[in-house]
């Protein structure tokens, strides 16, 4: 009878434990939902639990390091844009500072403060995307739709300063290409007035939300010493409890004059990463306000570049009237100036961690070797360790909370 057969089967299942487990292979392939970027994870699944993961990257390898060996120094800036394209001005400024360190150019204070405003705006933009995408992946699309409006506002600020929205190519070696206009200042002030309210609204939507907390607490936890061994930096490391921030350890661009705190987490799980990024956005807002206050106290409102004629373009009026300026302009634009030989490593606190530039120059007009220390590439290696034993939906949230940007992964 059907009854008898059922109980038989049930007994058989209890008695014999030698039934081998059947694993499925699931390809979370290069085409992802939720536009995280192109990388592949071939997961061995035991039902809903992940047994192991094998990663494949390189689906967007554009050979930046090879291209950089053929370009003069200011032509490498558009390449650095496309590393972490959510916060392009950060990468640009990092590259400019590396070259200035090699050449020994000292930028005036006003340039430093302007750079800090731009870098913190870019950091806010990047954390904004990451946090709203964590919301989207756990089902809360509202945060994304509301916060992207503010990202549009940041794009408008970029447009006033450099002309382009996303891949900005902002600034020059030694400063900026033009002073910030009145309209740019107006927009920055308007942003500072309106954004805190929106951020508070977003925070109240998710951070004490029961469903969100259930989905993100203890999901993908990572201990601090494993994180250090895997080369984590940035918000992911700070969520594990280590307060390493390049702005504080090796201050660059006058960051040591600013007063800000470094948020750290406890478990290194998804909720901590979300909250660390959230708090960093508040800290960035405070840094921008301090920078604006410092700028208003300075009497000099006109300098926007360093005064080194060998590498910094002279102003156009002088080029038309002054013979020397004309010669320098020609040499710089045609790329005939030779950069002194030497090697340098400089790193900045990008939105994902320590973005480093290792530049080796042998005296020509192009670098002999340029290596990007990309934070995403290094910490993504730890992903299998974070998701083994967890469920697939937790793995998706872990990946989105690590903020893996494909452009930085592959370069």
């Amino acid at each position: 009878m059907a009854q008898g057969q059922q109980t038989d089967y049930w007994k058989r299942d209890i008695i014999s434990h030698e039934e081998p487990k059947e694993y499925n292979i699931l390809n979370v392939g290069p085409t992802h939902p939720a536009t995280h970027g192109v990388f592949q994870n071939v997961m061995l699944m035991d039902g809903e639990f992940i047994v192991s993961t094998e990663q494949t990257i390189g689906y967007i390898h554009r050979a930046f390091e090879k291209i950089a060996e053929r370009r003069p120094f200011y032509q490498i800036t558009p390449l650095t844009d496309r590393l972490n394209y959510c916060s392009a001005p950060l990468n640009n400024m990092g590259w400019h500072m590396t070259v200035e360190k090699l050449l020994g150019i000292e930028t005036p204070k006003r340039v430093d403060y302007l750079r800090i405003i731009i870098m913190e705006l870019a950091r806010i933009a990047d954390h904004l995307i990451c946090n709203s995408v964590i919301g989207v992946d756990s089902g809360a699309l509202t945060g994304f739709t509301y916060l992207f409006q503010d990202r549009e506002y940041i794009y408008e600020i970029y447009e006033e300063i450099c002309g382009s929205r996303l891949t900005t190519n902002m600034g020059r070696i030694g400063g900026f290409e033009r002073n910030f206009s009145e309209k740019a200042w107006y927009k920055i002030h308007h942003f500072l007035k309106t954004y805190p309210k929106k951020l508070k609204e977003f925070e109240s939507l998710l951070s004490r939300n029961r469903i969100f907390m259930d989905r993100t607490i203890n999901v993908g936890p990572f201990s601090a010493d494993r994180a250090l061994a895997y080369g984590f930096t940035g918000p992911n490391l700070r969520a594990c409890g280590i307060d390493y921030d390049v702005r504080v350890m090796n201050p660059y661009c006058s960051y040591d004059e600013f007063d800000f705190t470094i948020p750290i987490g406890q478990n290194g799980d998804t909720y901590d990463r979300f909250m660390v990024r959230q708090e960093e956005m508040w800290q960035s807002l405070s840094i921008i306000e301090q920078a604006i206050a410092k700028l208003e106290k300075m009497e000099d409102k006109e300098t926007y570049f360093a005064k080194d004629p060998r590498f910094v373009l002279p102003p156009k009026e002088q080029v038309y009237n002054n013979m020397e300026a004309l010669i320098w302009h020609f040499k710089i634009v045609m790329g005939e100036t030779d950069i002194p030989a030497g090697e340098i490593y400089h790193s900045i606190e990008a939105a994902n961690g320590e973005l480093g530039f290792y530049l080796v120059s042998d005296g020509g007009r192009t670098p002999s070797r340029l290596h990007f220390r990309r934070p995403c590439f290094i910490y993504y290696q730890a992903y299998p360790e974070m998701v083994t034993g967890n469920m697939l939906s937790d793995a998706v949230l872990t990946m989105s909370s690590m903020n893996v940007i494909a452009g930085e992964l592959d370069a």
């Binding site: 536009t35 967007i60 554009r62 995307i129 409006q149 990202r151 549009e152 996303l166 494909a406």
Partner: protein, 185 residues
């Protein structure tokens, strides 16, 4: 020519036809074209920076859903329009081809950005110099990245193509030859 002036605001432009009391007669092609063009469901194949501009296009400021692309599908079987946004490397080429082959007819392809149209800034050994080396493309949107208004302009051009397409095009000989050129089927 329509005899009556339609006074309430319409969402889509009515095609040419004969209207009367309680009926509107037009050719089948135009009716199908009207339905297809105003409900294109995109598959966002976003690889890099242009993907972020696409996210901005889908967000509330430059809403793409106004044009009928309300539901993004990530499954090729359920989408009409393949939007390739960003650089396609040679490693990604076969994946793109597979996704294109899995889509059901009628399907359109829009190449958004300089990298998808022609390789863009990256003339290197590892980047596919334009996705039209592996799949046939209908509309190219240049820019690095293109502004959301340009992406919407590209979608409007696809809508024009979809609305005016002959019903027999997908079974015709020139289309078969186009597919053979790309070694599909």
């Amino acid at each position: 020519m329509s005899d009556k002036q339609i006074s309430t605001p319409t969402i889509a432009e009515t095609p040419e036809g004969i209207a009367g009391q309680g009926y509107f007669a037009t050719s089948f092609e135009k009716a199908v074209g009207l339905a297809r063009k105003n409900s294109l469901w995109p598959l966002p194949f976003a690889t890099s920076c242009c993907g972020i501009e696409f996210m901005a296009t889908m967000a509330s400021h430059y809403d793409l859903a106004r044009f009928g692309s309300e539901r993004l599908s990530f499954s090729p079987r359920q989408s009409d329009l393949l939007m390739v946004m960003g650089t396609v490397a040679k490693k990604m080429g076969p994946v793109l081809r597979e996704v294109y082959i899995q889509m059901a007819e009628p399907k359109w392809v829009i190449a958004v950005g300089a990298c998808a149209s022609s390789g863009g800034v990256f003339d290197t050994y590892s980047v596919l110099q334009g996705i039209d080396r592996v799949i046939p493309v209908d509309v190219y949107v240049p820019g690095c990245p293109p502004r959301p208004e340009q992406i919407i302009d590209g979608i409007l051009k696809i809508q024009e193509l979809a609305g005016n397409e002959s019903l027999r095009r997908r079974n015709s000989i020139p289309y078969d030859e186009l597919m053979k050129k790309y070694n599909i089927e």
